[in-house]
């Protein structure tokens, strides 16, 4: 077997592969470009080595993804919103021997390189004049790792989910057998390519021989224009984006070409389904996670009318159980932990045996998410992993934020929680006890945090308190913290907000 872009190019060279703005590349054209990227890379990277990629959604990223597969190297896609401190840790932990950054990242790149890690700019790789395909291609195997995708960690450290081509293959196939696939499909993707949602769309479209309409970010105007003028058939959005797009478009009818608006990443507010149905938008609700190569379950538009809020049935080949604390399977209707099995489940976390053993046992993925299956086998997500905050599609783990804030010498104790927000789904909020001097201000603490945390992880609501509410057993009562912060947020929303919003 060869890499997927090679076989796809032979199977349908003239089919449209990628559309960015007004530019369009066929599979044959993309394939040539990928050779131009792979050729110089092959001289610097051995099969099996890890390559960090810190680039926005653009042609270079798509080419790199295929080029690394072609030479047998493993992609480590990096979140552009992380601090240099966070990125350095991820690059070190994943043993990246090479880092490819965008052309305008000179300063950042030089900080992240070093310690045996070379730095390349995307511009230095592409050399179409010298494009040749006689570099050593790797033997492509489905079981080879395709990428290490970092997820924020519950223990304060991100974890690198190792996803194989097989994971993606089974995900692509069973997604196609749920959503359908048509030769002229165009999948609009504005999710970051360093998230599994964005990554998966590129790979599955290559398998299908269909086109990706790639946006570098979520911009209502641009996405809306794209929908109206580019015959989009599928679009992936997180609920926050869908709401913003609905607001932006108002009553304007959505294009009839659209087969699925795939909603994932977080629980969707009920009125979102209602608004979509009023506009005849074919909304499909999904439940998925990085560790299962994206989609686990998906409910189709026809069924959502009678069951808004459910994520539907697991995809073919994927099975979902609900288990209790003793690993016993619970009957329909009982709420418990969502456990996922099947060929899309990751190989494990990279060099983190302990975390891997916690989440992967006997071939089952213990998601930590809470939900139930109804008596028709449809999945309902009750609550994401209790410790996770999802704000505008980005995952934030409270413990990671807490650990950073605790490093400030004036901070005694911190509790970070998510509080609900009509636009972003959730916002990060914190309750902080400072030491007796009481000299620390909110802005000082946030400035301190900003050095080590991506902006979207910073608390939008922050309160200094004298004590944290405790449970009977003396642990911090997170639920009560959240309720109190939610109340205060309502009372004095304006002066507690910190400038900046998620996903900007």
């Amino acid at each position: 077997m060869e890499d997927w872009l090679s076989v796809r190019t032979r199977a349908s060279p003239h089919a449209s592969a990628l559309i960015i703005g007004e530019q369009e590349w066929s599979y044959a054209e993309l394939n040539d470009l990928v050779d131009a990227y792979a050729s110089p890379l092959a001289t610097q990277v051995q099969p099996g080595q890890h390559v960090g990629v810190l680039i926005p959604n653009n042609l270079a990223f798509v080419c790199l993804m295929h080029a690394l597969a072609r030479i047998g190297a493993v992609l480590v896609p990096l979140n552009l919103r992380l601090t240099n401190h966070e990125l350095t840790w991820q690059l070190d932990h994943s043993n990246c021997t090479l880092l490819v950054t965008a052309d305008d990242m000179d300063e950042r790149g030089s900080i992240l390189a070093g310690q045996g890690r070379r730095l390349l700019y995307a511009r230095d790789l592409i050399d179409t004049l010298n494009a040749r395909d006689d570099f050593p291609k790797s033997i492509f195997r489905l079981d080879n790792p395709q990428a290490i995708v970092f997820t924020s960690g519950t223990t304060g450290r991100p974890k690198g989910a190792v996803l194989t081509f097989a994971n993606h293959f089974w995900s692509a196939t069973s997604s196609a057998f749920r959503l359908g696939v048509l030769k002229d499909d165009r999948w609009l993707s504005c999710l970051p390519l360093y998230h599994v949602g964005g990554l998966a769309v590129i790979l599955r479209s290559c398998l299908y021989g269909t086109a990706v309409v790639l946006h570098d970010r979520f911009d209502e105007q641009a996405i809306s224009n794209s929908l109206d003028s580019q015959a989009i058939t599928l679009i992936s959005l997180v609920p926050t984006m869908a709401l913003r797009l609905l607001d932006f478009r108002g009553d304007r009818p959505w294009p009839s070409s659209l087969r699925h608006l795939l909603l994932g990443g977080a629980a969707a507010p009920p009125n979102l389904f209602k608004r979509c149905q009023d506009l005849d938008i074919p909304i499909s609700a999904t439940y998925g996670l990085t560790e299962a190569a994206s989609q686990v379950a998906t409910m189709l538009p026809q069924q959502i009318r009678s069951k808004p809020g459910s994520a539907g049935k697991p995809l073919l080949f994927t099975s979902v159980d609900i288990v209790n604390d003793q690993d016993q399977r619970l009957p329909a209707g009982s709420v418990g932990e969502i456990r996922v099995s099947g060929p899309t489940v990751m190989a494990g976390y990279y060099q983190d045996e302990q975390a891997t053993e916690e989440i992967l046992r006997d071939g089952h993925l213990y998601t930590g998410d809470i939900g139930y299956l109804d008596d028709e086998g449809d999945l309902w997500l009750v609550q994401r992993r209790s410790d996770i905050i999802i704000s505008g599609g980005e995952n934030v783990y409270p413990s990671e934020v807490e650990n950073v804030l605790l490093q400030h010498p004036s901070v005694v104790a911190v509790c970070v929680v998510g509080i609900s927000d009509p636009q972003w789904g959730q916002r990060v909020a914190a309750m902080v006890i400072q030491n007796c001097s009481k000299s620390l201000t909110k802005n000082e603490l946030l400035e301190f945090g900003r050095k080590n945390l991506a902006g979207y992880k910073l608390p939008r609501v922050l309160h200094f308190v004298d004590q944290l509410p405790l449970t009977a057993s003396g642990k911090i009562h997170r639920q009560l913290v959240a309720e109190q912060l939610q109340q205060r947020s309502h009372q004095a929303a304006s002066d507690e907000k910190v400038a900046g919003t998620p996903l900007e």
Copy 2:
């Protein structure tokens, strides 16, 4: 992993699975029926054992196919048109320990049973009152054989192509990524389920979660009604059937629901493409063979307009080379043997090492078919395996017919060839030298052949001659035999035809 009907039933229990006439079964209903079949079978058949199935296209056959997969037994689908002599040989050769026949085959069944082979009627298997699912299910593995499908043999003996679930899986997947798949697809299948074309439609529809509209045979009226009233989206036909259907329907428009009329099994006459295009019928031309689990290459309707006659590009994951007698790959445009590689290529012929080694070398399938790839990579079939006659979709191997006729004591020499026929594609024709007594009549010889040959293999044109045309090297000049028989057939068509037509 579990059998495909199990996973499909969980993924979309209410989706339509099978439609026969006015009756319709959902996947959940089909799944229950399959348990009712599998439960008694599991007491009689061990995993890995072979089960002959001699049943027309009907619900029982579909259920048996899934039931055997569920208990881990291997399906040996048998051609209903074969003689008892031919069937006994296939049952013996494939080590079938059990034969399941249709309810009305008492006499035939008892002839074929015996010698350690038990006989069951389909009616004795199904017992919905006692349907239970607590029988031992086999561990389903993609590499397990799904079926042994017999193809006529060049050396006079049929060969049993061992097809695994993996072969079917990759075929289904790459076919979906060429033809597309939609939730509401309905695939009309009137090809016999003992042919790979019929078999594949059942298995792939199960993977896709779509419906099969099954007909027990090709009947213009019934197929035409089905097309008009059952929202058919795909239909598989051999050219003979397509021509008959076109004749039957005349100028009547074809339904707009139809996405693909898949044409396979034999080369199609050029005017067939023209007629389809005049009626806006989305014709897709395929090249495939049993040994590659059906489809190898497929050209889509949009491309056929500019390249009528080509079978298009190989499916994803399948590769096609053209090689010469020395196994050297030939450049674009050069005519040679079509060689196929990829995950749909069979495991081999059952218990026939020699035939397997002849056709399978270094993972390549040497099809014996003659063709070329044009400079865009599209496949053109020039000639089916020189020794094969394809009449109305059935394969006839001259040597098999010759060997039978030669057993008549008055026959000295025989040459069997295919001559072209506007309706059937080809007809079987024979030139025969009898001994000096000259007492043998055509009808006597055909009666003799009928005992050991399925009706469709009997020569439609038969001439006694005093000598056969020879090549310079002294071999029978088959090409010249064909030309002479073709001429004679034109001159005196009526009195040389034997009653009965293929596919009746």
